[in-house]
């Protein structure tokens, strides 16, 4: 510690008045510029779209034809399409959310994050831009999923509005999951570690749910687990919105989960991003 600091004789008032806040419009513009960056990255590396393009095709074919007969009874594949496709909408969101975590982790190895963090932009905008682009990817995956579903005989028993509602609900829940994986991506040391931990969480959540099979066919303890698993709620909600049935309960629970997850993990992720050295 040394002598008193000789301050710059810069007009003090101007400094006090300028709090450096970033207005909403500027913030949206920054998010736009950063989202554009994420899209350009995809353009440069088209292989990064493989998961979005192929996963819905492979999973739908696999589950309908390999397990469909076993789950729904031989010859009932048609019925199973309408059961599993809405469920896969829930799964798509989770798988893409996982990729966000590994992507963020990888991004941090690059100096460009240092540049973003030394620029006069809200630090959350970097993360939000990522989520915006990933939601776009998720929408593409969902459309492909529905396309394959229709090809295999998926029929909408409700109306387009309900279908859009199901897609929107999956997107809202997917976005909340992305915050979890961003937090994970900012915490773990390597993308591989992020993937490892994510898989560990993902597998039981995906399969211990109503996505692929009716929980009533499972042992009691597992059935209990599927009831508290938010993926079951989302799958049930999407199913009801496509096949008809009581919607409200599972939609509200899914929305509550989404809000809860976001409220807890988003501030933690932004704080983590801010402090990360």
């Amino acid at each position: 510690m040394s002598t008193a600091t000789a301050t710059l004789d810069r007009p003090v008032k101007a400094v006090a008045a300028d709090e450096g806040r970033i207005g909403l419009r500027a913030n949206l513009r920054h998010i736009g510029a950063l989202a554009r960056r994420n899209m350009l990255q995809i353009k440069q590396d088209p292989e990064s779209m493989f998961d979005v393009l192929l996963m819905p095709v492979i999973f739908t074919l696999l589950f309908v034809y390999v397990f469909g007969g076993a789950v729904a009874g031989k010859g009932n594949q048609q019925e199973y399409v309408n059961y599993v496709v809405p469920g896969l909408m829930a799964m798509m969101g989770m798988n893409i959310a996982m990729a966000v975590g590994t992507g963020i982790n990888d991004d941090f190895k690059k100096g460009v994050m240092d540049r973003f963090r030394t620029m006069p932009i809200a630090r959350s905008s970097v993360l939000i831009a990522k989520i915006v682009v990933e939601l776009g990817r998720m929408m593409i995956a969902t459309l492909i999923l529905l396309g394959v579903g229709f090809a295999l005989g998926l029929s909408i028993h409700t109306d387009v509005l309900h279908l859009l509602g199901a897609i929107a609900l999956a997107a809202v829940f997917g976005a909340s999951l992305m915050w979890i994986f961003i937090l994970l991506g900012l915490t773990m040391k390597t993308p591989q570690a992020v993937q490892g931990v994510a898989m560990l969480v993902l597998m039981p959540l995906q399969f211990g749910s109503s996505i692929f099979a009716k929980p009533t066919t499972m042992p009691g303890w597992l059935e209990g687990f599927t009831k508290v698993n938010p993926l079951s709620n989302l799958a049930d909600a999407a199913r009801a919105m496509i096949n008809g049935g009581a919607v409200a309960h599972s939609v509200w629970i899914t929305l509550a989960w989404s809000v809860g997850i976001t409220a807890v993990t988003a501030p933690l992720a932004v704080a983590r991003f801010r402090k990360k050295t």
Partner: protein, 341 residues
């Protein structure tokens, strides 16, 4: 340039800055000032704390103690305002490798709130200036090391920052590219930028900086003008090239055995084909020349130079710029006073 500070004084003021990482004292009470419109060279070996200093000054790392102000803004209390006046070029290129040069610069322009058209114009202007126009559309990952570093510098210049941090801007570059980067830095300074430059290359500090702060293990061990620092170490080196290269050792022996007053440590520099004689006074210079004339040892070239910054560092810290530090071979000093015989 829009955001240049109009006031005279220190653009960067650092007082008692401390940052510890566990047991490692990356910064252990650093004081320094960068006067407006000047280049301060922060010189030190690997691990001296240079990068931590830059990261504190660019709001990436919070100090444990001490204060730092940049353009009057406190790093801890006014980080958002501070980020508006700084530009950073790190040791590792901080551009998006998957984006083209132009896309990178455009993105940064947009993040700095330039309207789209202006951001494009500024990107093209800087690409032109940094000789990257031809490569503008290629992704940065295909750039050579030097091109990347130039793109990085260009990125830091988009907002015309009042204060620019260059953290080891030429580490890992070949000499030709290094010279290109130096030219750009000199040009920026000519346009009025205040620069804090960290480097482990003595030659670089000598080339670019007007003042130097030497740090070692998180502490300032010396500071002042480049020439002052050199003078502090004292003495000059007299370098003599014999007409007959074969008589190099004979000449060295003749000088060291003559027992001239205060002359000690005569050395043969085989690479330069010269004999180096440390001297303090002009009288000693005359005595050496007289001796060689009397012995009939012809001189092709003779000159004196101030000690190199390597020698300065050694004299100040009592150790070599050590282990793994890629110190440049002592530069042919600028301050050479030459006498051709």
């Amino acid at each position: 340039m829009t955001t240049r500070l109009s006031e005279k004084g220190a653009a960067v003021e650092v007082r008692g800055l401390v940052k510890h990482y566990g047991q490692t004292k990356a910064l252990d009470g650093v004081d320094l000032d960068v006067r407006q419109g000047t280049v301060l060279g922060v010189l030190g070996p690997n691990g001296a704390g240079k990068t931590t200093l830059v990261r504190v000054l660019s709001t990436l790392v919070k100090p444990d103690a001490g204060t730092a102000r940049v353009a009057g803004y406190d790093v801890l209390r006014q980080p958002r305002q501070l980020r508006r006046v700084i530009g950073l070029t790190g040791q590792y290129a901080s551009v998006d490798e998957k984006l083209s040069g132009r896309e990178n610069l455009y993105m940064i322009g947009r993040l700095l709130d330039l309207p789209s058209r202006q951001a494009k114009a500024r990107a093209d202007e800087l690409l032109e200036r940094f000789s990257l126009t031809e490569a503008a559309k290629r992704p940065a990952m295909q750039y050579s090391g030097g091109m990347r570093r130039r793109l990085d510098l260009a990125a830091s210049m988009i907002g015309e920052p009042a204060v620019l941090y260059l953290d080891e801007p030429t580490t890992g570059l070949d000499p030709r590219t290094r010279n290109e980067v130096w030219e750009e830095v000199q040009r920026m300074v000519g346009e009025g930028a205040t620069v804090l430059l960290t480097t482990q290359y003595m030659e670089e500090a000598e080339q670019l900086a007007s003042e130097l702060t030497v740090i070692d293990r998180g502490r300032v061990v010396a500071n002042g003008k480049v020439a002052e620092l050199k003078a502090k170490v004292g003495g000059r080196t007299l370098q003599i090239v014999p007409s007959d290269p074969g008589r190099l050792t004979a000449m060295a022996a003749a000088i060291s055995e003559a027992g001239l007053d205060g002359i000690d440590g005569v050395a043969v520099d085989h690479a330069a084909g010269a004999v180096n004689v440390p001297i303090v006074t002009d009288g000693q210079l005359t005595a050496v020349v007289g001796l060689l004339a009397a012995r009939g040892l012809a001189i092709a070239h003779i000159g004196t130079h101030l000690p190199s910054l390597d020698e300065v560092f050694l004299a100040i810290t009592g150790k070599k710029t050590d282990s793994g530090t890629p110190v440049e071979p002592a530069a042919p000093a600028n301050s050479k006073e030459e006498v051709t015989v």
